[in-house]
Symmetry: C2
Subunit: 365 residues, 2 copies
């Protein structure tokens, strides 16, 4: 596996240049770019060897070289300079995060939007929530036909629902139900909410109007929607500005695939979540999904608190500016982790302000 230092520099220069221009790079160009005091003929010899090693390929005999997926892989692993973001860029990202992070419900798509704008590639955001249980119930009596269910989950999300009834109930019944639900439905996972539990609660509450099952089904719905993997894809249209997707059919295929959203990462999702905060790069055929075989994906994960991991990724041609994208995603993910994760006062449902551990309330906007 030993590969001479000069070969490395040539490969690096070639990949850099190809990323910039999207055109096959010739020996002459490399000789000028990477000034490693030798002529284009020497570089030609090296290029021939790199090609034999499977790191480069030629679109046709008389064209320059382009990197193969293996070439990109080596570039990403060893050659690429870890790009530092400029102060402006970091400030830009922080500013956007502060602007946007007010509401968790729209956060996912907002984060995707930020990533997409930042990198000018389509972005995908997903989150796998840790299994949650109900922490407490409140039922707010509005009038004889109306009440509000408010549930607080173990991850400090709060959900509510307004219920209208075709029949009348009194405040006492509502209170009784709240008590019973707090006693029987808190701290249990949704699969332990059985018809038996529901009907026993119903009897205990003297509920002849089916209120119990209304509330119970809201609980089940809430818990299960909480446990789903939520995925958002943003900025698919940015693909079209990349020369490799000038072919409308090719672009269309990939965009269709992306717009499905959920299964973007195929089987790899789980292991993605497991890994540390490192940025991951999947190059061309390294992707499991057939549709991504000639595209690349860069993924960063972040800690959303409450044992919940978020994933933020970017999709582009294999000729992607890995260095810049990785730096940006990494910074973005770190910013998200900092804001969301690790506090005992994490953000929660609908309209909760973000609180950072130890800080005061952040009153954004």
């Amino acid at each position: 596996m030993g590969i001479s230092d000069r070969k490395k520099r040539i490969l690096a220069a070639l990949v850099d240049e190809y990323i910039k221009t999207a055109e096959p790079v010739g020996s002459k160009a490399i000789a000028q770019l990477a000034d490693l005091g030798c002529s284009s003929a020497t570089i030609r010899n090296e290029l021939a060897e790199l090609t034999a090693m499977g790191l480069l390929e030629q679109p046709h005999t008389s064209a320059g070289r382009i990197p193969t997926p293996a070439g990109y892989r080596m570039y990403v692993n060893e050659l690429m300079e870890k790009q530092k973001l400029s102060l402006e860029e970091t400030e830009e990202i922080n500013r956007r995060l502060n602007d946007k992070m007010i509401q968790l419900d729209s956060m996912m798509s907002d984060v995707g939007k930020i990533a997409s704008q930042l990198t000018d590639y389509p972005a995908l955001a997903l989150a796998a929530y840790a299994p949650a249980v109900i922490k407490r119930f409140d039922l707010i009596y509005i009038d004889a036909n109306t009440f509000i269910i408010v549930v607080m989950l173990s991850n400090n999300t709060v959900k509510n629902k307004l219920v209208h009834l075709p029949v009348s109930v009194d405040q006492g019944m509502i209170n009784k139900l709240a008590m019973l639900f707090n006693a029987n439905f808190t701290g249990i996972s949704s699969d332990r909410i059985t018809p038996i539990l529901i009907s026993s609660t119903e009897r205990a509450a003297d509920d002849t109007m089916g209120l119990t099952s209304v509330i119970a089904s809201f609980v089940i719905e809430t818990l299960s929607s909480q446990n789903e993997v939520h995925a958002f894809v943003t900025g698919e249209n940015r693909l079209l500005s990349q020369p490799e997707y000038r072919d409308p059919d090719k672009a269309h295929r990939l965009m269709n695939y992306l717009s499905e959203g959920a299964h973007v990462l195929g089987g790899t999702t789980d292991e993605m979540f497991d890994e540390g905060s490192e940025v991951k790069v999947l190059i061309g055929p390294e992707n499991v999904a057939e549709e991504l075989k000639d595209s690349s994906v860069v993924i960063a994960s972040y800690d959303m608190g409450d044992n919940t991991k978020g994933l933020i990724g970017v999709v582009g041609p294999t000729r992607m500016d890995y260095s810049a994208v990785a730096a940006k995603l990494s910074f973005l993910a770190a910013g998200l982790s900092r804001r969301l994760g690790g506090g005992e006062a994490p953000p929660s449902g609908m309209h909760n302000k973000l609180i950072i551990k130890g800080d005061d309330i952040i009153d954004e906007h």
Copy 2:
């Protein structure tokens, strides 16, 4: 403006055919399609006149005719057969509506998704909420550092927020604040929530910890987000399957424009909302937005209840199947109005079930 019956039949046949094939239509083809017992030569004469009238044009001398925007306009206004949806199609739409309509918060984008899938064009969904005021406050005391704000709006939306405090409060304070907010902040619009009102409430509550302003700013935020026009665009990628957007640049321009979302309809939004439940068609240059000048938009509006109007539209090439799209959108809008509108028990925030007036609780899922 009189235009002979035969001309009409020729124009209709031509537009129908062009919609189907996307290729200029010649006299011969029309002679075969619309069997109005006359030869292609006669039709050529008629075509020449229709062209002179500005209803048709020729891409070049020796090609067939294609409709001008004026031609489409006449087609849409007078010639097009009002398409009836098949039973399968109506059932399909109803099924999707029933599946999807569980949560209002995701409804907007879901409706867009349905419209886009149904028509195979990009769809946009927007809603202009009627100005809302707070109807009632509840503060739920969790522990010394935590409470939940629950507000119910005049349009029966319920919003909540979990607040963590860096200081301790007791239940009494929370109750006092709830009372004061119910007394002072209900029934008023957000512009009447002045610093003066806030500070007087603060004094009345003996609040030295800034709780009042936290709650007040949540109120303001809730009201103003409620009054925004929310817009969703879905299925931009479907553009790419249309031959008129095979040019990546053209497609890119329009998709970029669409992805901005909000200002899709430009100045026309207001009047759109005003109109009845009719389906509206904007053909090419009839659109105000420069980016839509050679595309068409079909829009249907529906009643979301609570004086709120929803708009659902579809964007495509001027060569759009107006008849089919209009029929589908119209049916979809009617279904939405039926489900959402006109009840005194309309759907509300986050997780409220949909209730149809007079019906029992619909327990979807």
